[in-house]
């Protein structure tokens, strides 16, 4: 993975000094709340319900074991002994003290980490595929490009105060796991007809209050021009994005208002002036950065391992886990595994200090010391030998990290919600927990099969509810908390946005509502059909009528 040289280190060190002085001036009354707000936000610091919240950057979701260990230490020393992994693959602390945040940053800088641009109206953390570098369907390893974009966007002087936040995702595989279509800019790498690396550029996607899928602004861009092309897109946005209304300030609104053709025309006109300017990426620079992301020193192994096969055949619990949590790998004899941060009845995406330390140890012993954070809020070990899989599982299971629910109904994507976040209209974690307890039966979960359930506590959509097969949105009605349900959303190459099924529900109704949606699916599915396929085939209506049927509530309560 990427390692800092003295230039990277100087930047994070200087950032700590700059931020420390900003906090000092704020506490001394030399900066007003309004003046301090963008400064702290661009450092990931929110003022929350109970305490500030600090969001720490995990660039493109990649962590070294020593970094995860440090995150565990920080969570223990400065917080309550746990952290929350987010859909932007960052980690949040829910209870730090404002006065101590400069010290936290200094600790992070000591392990080549930071909280730069994890919030605020600027270019946020770059995200990509959690299986980058090992996925069998990978066309191009996106990590070197993601790192080059990270450096370009870090303290970009022209784009420090945009109309609104700006998110960029990079995908290098056939199956998009980076959700490029719901990003302000999505960069999709592919090999063109001359077998050269090219980029399809998506623009204007986003969730939030007005969910919109991105549109293609350019089908074919040579990779050398990524930075200058992004520069032109962001410049047109910076000049013309709506600053009069923060609900309409994202680039998606501008693209929609102008139409993608007119927006493209403006971008191309700007780009004509800066194409081939010094920020054009050279072959030498890409090669240099790519050397940080070369293949791990793999052993030559057979494609099968007798002990692994035997364990699968004889141990049903292990087999159930392997079915959900073990993923294919480019290299024979290796697999990636997902450590579930979604045990039933606990806040989705949370990990304790002890778990972080344990996962760091697992990474060191079994997976070349590297960990990935997924946008589904789990952690991944990318390079585990088949022969060691059973040992890893036993340790993970003993520490609550082996719930075999990856991709199943209880692998819920969920924002911190009203328990923590001051933006939230409603709580989200208790809803997730209640649904997990309703479906706390592994056989039933496996029978339901692959399904994605996303929960956001407000229309800012941190839980990506629009692209959940089932999406739940917390809404405020006259000061009380209600939940609006949509179905038919999907991430990936054939992404779609969900359709709201009808009036919202009270919190205690939610497990039953999900139950009824599942009942329709089970009754109406064809063999091999996933929940989302059934929704797409039969439409929303059958689900709606069952959920809102007058006797449905009684049926369930008598069940």
């Amino acid at each position: 993975m990427y390692k800092y040289d003295e230039i990277d280190q100087a930047i994070v060190n200087e950032r700590v000094a700059q931020y420390r002085d900003q906090v000092r001036r704020y506490l001394a009354g030399e900066l007003s709340d309004d003046e301090f707000r963008p400064l702290r936000l661009q450092n990931g610091l929110y003022i929350q319900r109970h305490a500030p919240m600090l969001r720490i950057a995990v660039p493109y979701g990649t962590l070294a074991s020593y970094q995860l260990r440090k995150l565990g230490d920080i969570a223990k020393h400065y917080d309550k002994g746990y952290g929350h992994f987010t859909t932007r693959t960052n980690m949040q602390l829910n209870w730090p003290k404002l006065e101590e945040t400069p010290d936290i940053l200094a600790e992070l800088a000591s392990v080549q980490m930071h909280a730069i641009q994890t919030s605020g109206n600027c270019i946020r953390n770059i995200t990509t595929d959690q299986f980058a570098g090992i996925a069998p369907d990978e066309v191009i390893d996106p990590r070197a490009i993601a790192e080059i974009i990270r450096q370009w966007s870090t303290f970009h002087p022209e784009f420090a105060l945009l109309p609104r936040k700006f998110k960029i995702a990079v995908s290098g595989s056939k199956h998009d796991r980076a959700v490029v279509q719901v990003h302000d800019i999505g960069l999709e790498f592919y090999l063109d007809s001359h077998n050269k690396v090219a980029v399809k550029v998506w623009v204007g996607g986003g969730l939030g209050r007005t969910p919109i899928l991105g549109q293609v602004i350019r089908e074919h861009l040579e990779w050398q021009h990524i930075l200058t092309y992004c520069e032109s897109i962001v410049r047109v946005y910076n000049m013309h994005g709506r600053r009069d209304n923060s609900f309409k300030a994202r680039i998606k609104i501008l693209v929609k208002a102008l139409g993608v053709e007119e927006f493209r025309k403006q971008v191309e006109a700007d780009w004509a002036n800066i194409k081939d300017s010094p920020n054009t990426i050279t072959e030498a620079e890409l090669t240099r950065v790519s050397q940080y992301f070369t293949a791990m020193p793999y052993e030559t192994l057979p494609a099968h391992d007798a002990s692994y096969d035997k364990a699968l055949a004889t141990n049903p619990a292990f087999a159930a886990w392997a079915k959900r949590c073990v993923h294919p790998h480019k290299k024979a004899g290796y697999r990636a595994i997902t450590l579930s941060l979604k045990p039933h009845g606990k806040p989705p995406g949370d990990a304790t200090t002890e778990q972080m330390h344990l996962i760091a140890d697992l990474a060191d012993h079994y997976s070349f010391g590297e960990i990935r954070v997924t946008h589904e809020q789990n952690l991944v070990l990318t390079d585990v030998k088949l022969s060691e899989m059973f040992s890893v599982w036993e340790i993970a299971r003993a520490n609550g990290l082996a719930t075999p629910n990856i991709g199943l109904l209880t692998d819920i994507i969920c924002c911190p919600g009203g328990d923590f976040c001051s933006l939230a209209n409603a709580k989200s974690i208790p809803i997730a927990e209640a649904i997990q307890m309703q479906f706390d039966n592994l056989d039933y979960l496996h029978e339901i099969g692959d399904i994605e359930l996303n929960i956001s506590g407000c229309m800012n959509a941190c839980g990506h509810h629009h692209v959940g097969h089932i999406g739940i949105l917390g809404v405020d009605k006259d000061g009380s908390e209600w939940y609006q349900v949509s179905i038919g959303g999907k991430q990936g190459n054939d992404a779609s946005l969900g359709t709201v099924i009808g009036p919202s529900f009270a919190a205690e109704e939610m497990p039953g509502v999900v139950q009824r949606l599942i009942e329709v699916y089970i009754a109406r599915r064809t063999p091999e059909e996933l929940f989302i396929d059934t929704v797409r085939r039969i439409g929303v209506e059958p689900f709606k009528s069952h959920v809102y049927a007058k006797d449905a509530a009684q049926e369930v309560s008598h069940a």
Binding site: I7, P38, Q151, W152, H156, L161, D244, S246, S277, N279
Partner: protein
């Protein structure tokens, strides 16, 4: 004489320019989604012909004129422009092209200033970049208005070399922020090469 709050070329300097402003007009409070609108839209016209006509320009010395006034009265100001007595200022919501189209050679101006009503308005950065790169403006480029030390480093990187710090803040203290970072990553106006073209960074 009051202490100068102008930073020019990384030092405190005296301001030789008299700022000319439009006489106050009526500005209605607008709301969007229940909140007061804080930022004007790009291209929004915020002055009237009456205000332009009523703008008082000192007869002698270096004067910094609002773009709208200059556009309307440029014939009258041509001699003074030739003498180097005219600088032009525009606000972040004004369309830069209305200046560049009316004055193809911007370098006849010794000073262009950009007014930022609220520091969080990042349009000021793109305006600086465009003036310096696309329009090749070489002379003094000043930021004024809600100019605070925490934005100085970015302003400098976007081509500004002159900053009138907000009156209630110390320009002396602000000087330090021009040096917040020693080796920025990306090419911008001040240093147009990205770091990997400036330094041999090596590899792992």
């Amino acid at each position: 004489m009051p202490k100068s709050n102008l930073i020019r070329n990384d030092a405190i300097a005296t301001d030789e320019w008299a700022l000319v402003t439009l006489p106050a007009g009526e500005e209605a409070v607008r709301k969007q989604a229940g909140k007061v609108v804080l930022f004007k839209l790009t291209g929004e016209v915020t002055h009237t012909q009456e205000q332009i006509d009523a703008t008082n320009i000192p007869a002698t010395g270096k004067v910094l004129i609002p773009l709208a006034v200059w556009l309307a009265r440029k014939e009258q100001l041509a001699d003074r422009l030739a003498k180097g007595e005219i600088g032009i200022w525009l606000a972040t919501h004004e369309v830069l092209e209305s200046l560049t189209e009316a004055l193809p050679d911007l370098n006849t101006l010794p000073l262009i200033a950009v007014f930022v009503e609220r520091f969080a308005d990042g349009r000021i950065f793109s305006i600086g970049n465009l003036l310096r790169t696309r329009y090749e403006y070489k002379n003094e480029l000043r930021a004024f208005g809600d100019v605070l030390r925490d934005q100085l480093f970015f302003l400098k990187r976007c081509g500004y070399d002159s900053y009138l710090i907000r009156a209630d803040r110390s320009a002396e203290e602000a000087l330090a922020s021009l040096k917040d970072f020693s080796q920025p990553y990306q090419g911008a106006v001040d240093i147009n090469q990205p770091v990997w073209r400036r330094v041999n960074r090596g590899a792992p």
